[in-house]
C-alpha cells in the first residue's frame, strides 16, 4: 500500500544522516519510538520527537536502552510500526530484548549509529565494529536482517526497506549506520507519499477460537493478531509450540528454532540488496558498506588508473549475507578486498564464502576516522599481483 502522507515531508532538503533516518522512519509509517540518549544517534529521536506530535506518533524517552527495546516490542504487538535508536553501549544493552523480538517474531526496527568501541570507546567518532554483534549479539540461534546506508539519502530510502522487511519476515531489523553517515549533511530528496510503498501489518483473518499464533501453513511466517482484538493469544520468550504455549522438549526446540533461522536463511537471495560496479571481468572485487564504500570509490579510481580491473560490491543489506554472489565470484577473480572500520569482521564472512578459492584481504581502520584512499588503492594493487 501507499504510505500515510502525514509522515512524509516531500521536497528537497539539506539533512544529516540522523535526521534523514528519522524522516525515513516517519515516511515508512513508524508511529511509536522509544529511545534513550546516546551519541552519535540522538539526533534521530530529536527529529522524531519534534515531528511526531503532528503526525499521530508517540515518542517516549525511556529510562535506559533495556526499557526502550522492551517498549518497542510491546508496542509492536498493537500493530504499530515501532523503532528504537542507539549506539554501541546501548546496542549491547538491547541484545536480550532483540532476542525476545526474534523469538516472539515481532516486527520492529533498531537503529545503531556506530561509533568506536569497545566499551565507551570513541563516543563522537566513527566505527563499523558492531557488524558481527548485529549478526550474533543476542544468545541462541536466530538470523537477523541488517541494512547499511552510505549516505543521508540512503538513510532515508533504506528505512522503508527496513520497516517493510520487518513486517514481511516478522523479525527485528537492524539499521547499521555509522557516525560519519549519521553526521554528514547532504541533499536528501523525499518523494511524494504515493511513491513510497509500505507493507502494513497483515492481520490474521482466522476466527479467534481457531487462531493459533505460531501456526504456519506452508510458508514460514505465522499470521499476526494484535492485542485487544479478542484473540486472547499467548506469546512467550520460552520455546513454544504453534499455540504459543511453552514446550520444553528437543522436538519443539528443533521445529521452532529451525523455522526462525530458515525463514531468513532460505530467503537470503530474496532479501539480498547490493549494488555492483565493474564486477564482470574484474580481477579484484571490493566488498564494502557504509561510509567506507564512499571512501573506497577513490581508492578504486586510483587503482583503475594503474590499469587494474577492479569491481565493487556495495552491501546495502549486510545480513543475511549475499553468500551466493560471493561464492560465484570466488571462482572468477584473483582476490577480494574488504576495507572496514574495524579489525576484521565482514572480511571473515567474505573469507568463509570464498572458501579458500581466493584470498579475502582486510584493509583495516581501527576507528575514529576513515581510510586513506591510497591504503585501499595499495591493497588493490597488491591483490591484483
Amino acid at each position: 500500500m501507499k504510505t500515510d502522507p502525514l509522515g512524509v515531508l516531500t521536497g528537497e532538503h539539506y539533512l544529516d544522516g540522523d535526521y534523514a533516518c528519522g524522516e525515513g522512519a516517519m515516511a515508512a509509517g513508524c508511529r511509536f519510538v522509544a529511545g534513550y540518549p546516546i551519541t552519535p544517534s540522538t539526533e534521530v529521536v530529536e527529529r522524531i520527537s519534534q515531528r511526531f506530535p503532528m503526525i499521530g506518533g508517540t515518542f517516549i524517552q525511556m529510562e535506559d536502552e533495556l526499557a526502550s527495546m522492551a517498549a518497542i516490542v510491546g508496542a509492536s504487538w498493537t500493530g504499530v510500526k515501532s523503532m528504537t535508536v542507539t549506539s554501541g553501549p546501548g546496542f549491547s544493552l538491547m541484545m536480550e530484548n532483540i532476542g525476545l523480538a526474534a523469538m516472539m517474531e515481532t516486527p520492529c526496527v533498531v537503529v545503531n549509529v556506530q561509533r568506536g568501541g569497545p566499551s565507551t570507546g570513541l563516543p563522537t567518532m566513527v566505527g563499523q565494529a558492531d557488524m558481527m554483534q548485529a549478526r550474533w549479539g543476542s544468545h541462541g540461534d536466530y538470523e537477523i536482517i541488517a541494512l547499511c546506508p552510505e549516505s543521508p539519502q540512503e538513510a532515508f530510502d533504506l528505512m522503508t526497506d527496513a520497516f517493510n522487511l520487518a513486517e514481511e519476515y516478522r523479525t527485528p531489523v537492524l539499521f547499521m549506520m555509522d557516525e560519519c553517515v549519521g553526521h554528514m549533511t547532504e541533499k536528501v530528496v523525499i518523494p511524494d507519499p504515493d511513491k513510497i510503498d509500505i507493507v502494513p501489518r497483515k492481520l490474521t483473518r482466522a476466527k479467534p477460537e481457531e487462531y493459533k499464533p505460531y501456526l504456519v501453513n506452508g510458508n514460514m511466517i505465522p499470521e499476526f493478531a494484535r492485542a485487544g482484538d479478542g484473540y486472547k493469544f499467548h506469546t512467550t520468550g520460552l520455546t513454544h509450540d504453534e499455540k504459543g504455549y511453552p514446550v520444553m522438549s528437543e522436538e519443539c526446540q528443533a521445529v521452532l528454532v529451525k523455522r526462525l533461522v530458515d525463514k531468513i536463511r532460505l530467503n537470503a537471495d530474496e532479501i539480498a540488496k547490493y549494488k555492483e560496479d565493474g564486477v564482470d571481468g574484474a580481477d579484484v572485487v571490493l566488498v564494502t558498506y557504509g561510509i567506507t564504500a564512499r571512501v573506497a570509490r577513490m581508492g578504486i579510481d586510483l587503482a583503475r588508473k594503474k590499469g587494474v580491473k577492479v569491481g565493487v560490491i556495495r552491501l546495502q543489506i549486510v545480513w543475511p549475507f549475499p553468500e551466493k554472489r560471493i561464492r560465484e565470484l570466488a571462482g572468477k577473480i584473483k582476490a577480494f578486498v574488504v576495507p572496514e572500520i574495524n579489525y576484521g569482521q565482514i572480511v571473515l564472512e567474505v573469507e568463509r564464502c570464498a572458501a579458500g578459492k581466493v584470498p579475502a584481504i582486510l584493509v583495516s581502520h581501527m576507528g575514529g576516522g576513515v581510510h586513506n584512499p591510497e591504503d585501499i588503492r595499495d591493497a588493490i594493487l597488491e591483490a591484483a599481483k
Binding site: 508511529r31 501489518r201 499467548h234 512467550t236
Partner: protein, 297 residues
Amino acid sequence: MSKVIERTIDATEHPISPYIRMDRMPHIWCPTCGIGTVVKCYATALDESGIDINKVSIVSGIGCTGRTAGYMNLDGFHTTHGRAVPFATGLKLGRPELLVTVFSGDGDLVGIGGNHFIHAARRNIDLLVILINNFIYGMTGGQNAPTTPITAKTSTMPFGNFERPFNIPHLAASCGASYVARYTSLHVRRMTKAFKEALSRKGFRFIEIVTPCSTLYARLNKLGTGLNLINYYEKSSEIRNGVDTRDIDISFQDKIICGKFIDEERPTFLDMMHDHYKRTLGDRYVPMSNEGGMIRE
C-alpha cells in the same frame, strides 16, 4: 490427623475457568504456593467488574509469577526478566484503549526491574502492577531477594540475610503511584476488592500481595508449609488503611501492615502528554487515536 477429602472438580464448572487456559492445567506452581490465590482473586475481580475482556492484556516477566501471563485466558505476554513494565508501557502507548496488567514477582519487579518500576510510577503510566512478594527467588532455587527480611535464610545467604530489604509500597508511593495497597494471600476478599477498585482507576496502580513460598522460603527458614505461613499472616497482619508508607517495613516473621495506602487521582502520562501538546501546539497536534497507531490497509 489429616483427612482426605474426596471430590472431583469439573474444570469447566470452576467459576474462573473462562479466565484460565484450562488446556494448560495443571500449572507448575508448588502445593500451598500463593500465586494461584492471587490469580483467582484477579480473575474474580475482572469478572465482577464487567470490563471488556478483549481489551485486557496481561504482561509478566520471568520467575514463578512470570508464568501467570501464560495461564490466564487473555492476550498474554511472557517477556524477559525484569522487563514486564517497559514492555507493558509500549503496549499501552501503542494502543491506549488497552487495559494492561503486569504480574510480577519481587525479584523481577524490584530486583532486576527496579529501574523500570520507579520510572513507570514517576510517569504515572496507566498500568495495574500486581506484585507477588514471597521474599525469595523461587524459580531458581531460593536465592536472596531485594525483599528478603533481615535474618531470613536463603540459598545465597545461608547464614541469614543481612541486607536491608525494600519497603515496596513506600517506594511506589514516593515515586508518585496513584494507587498503592498491600495484602497477603490470606486476604482474598480485601485483595479482590482492591483489584476491582484498581481496575476502575487510572495511572500507575500498585498492589503488593505477600504470598507463601513453601518449597524454598518456608523450608529454608524451618517455617513449616505454606499453610503455616498463612497462619502467620492471620496472626501478624494488621489492616491500617491510609497509614504512612514509611512505617510499613516487613521484618522477619514480624507484623505485616496491610491496607490501602494511596488512592489519589493524578493525571497519567497520556493525560499530561495530550494536555501539554494541545496547549503548546493547538490545532497542529495530531494525537494517536485510542485504537492505536497501526496504519491500516
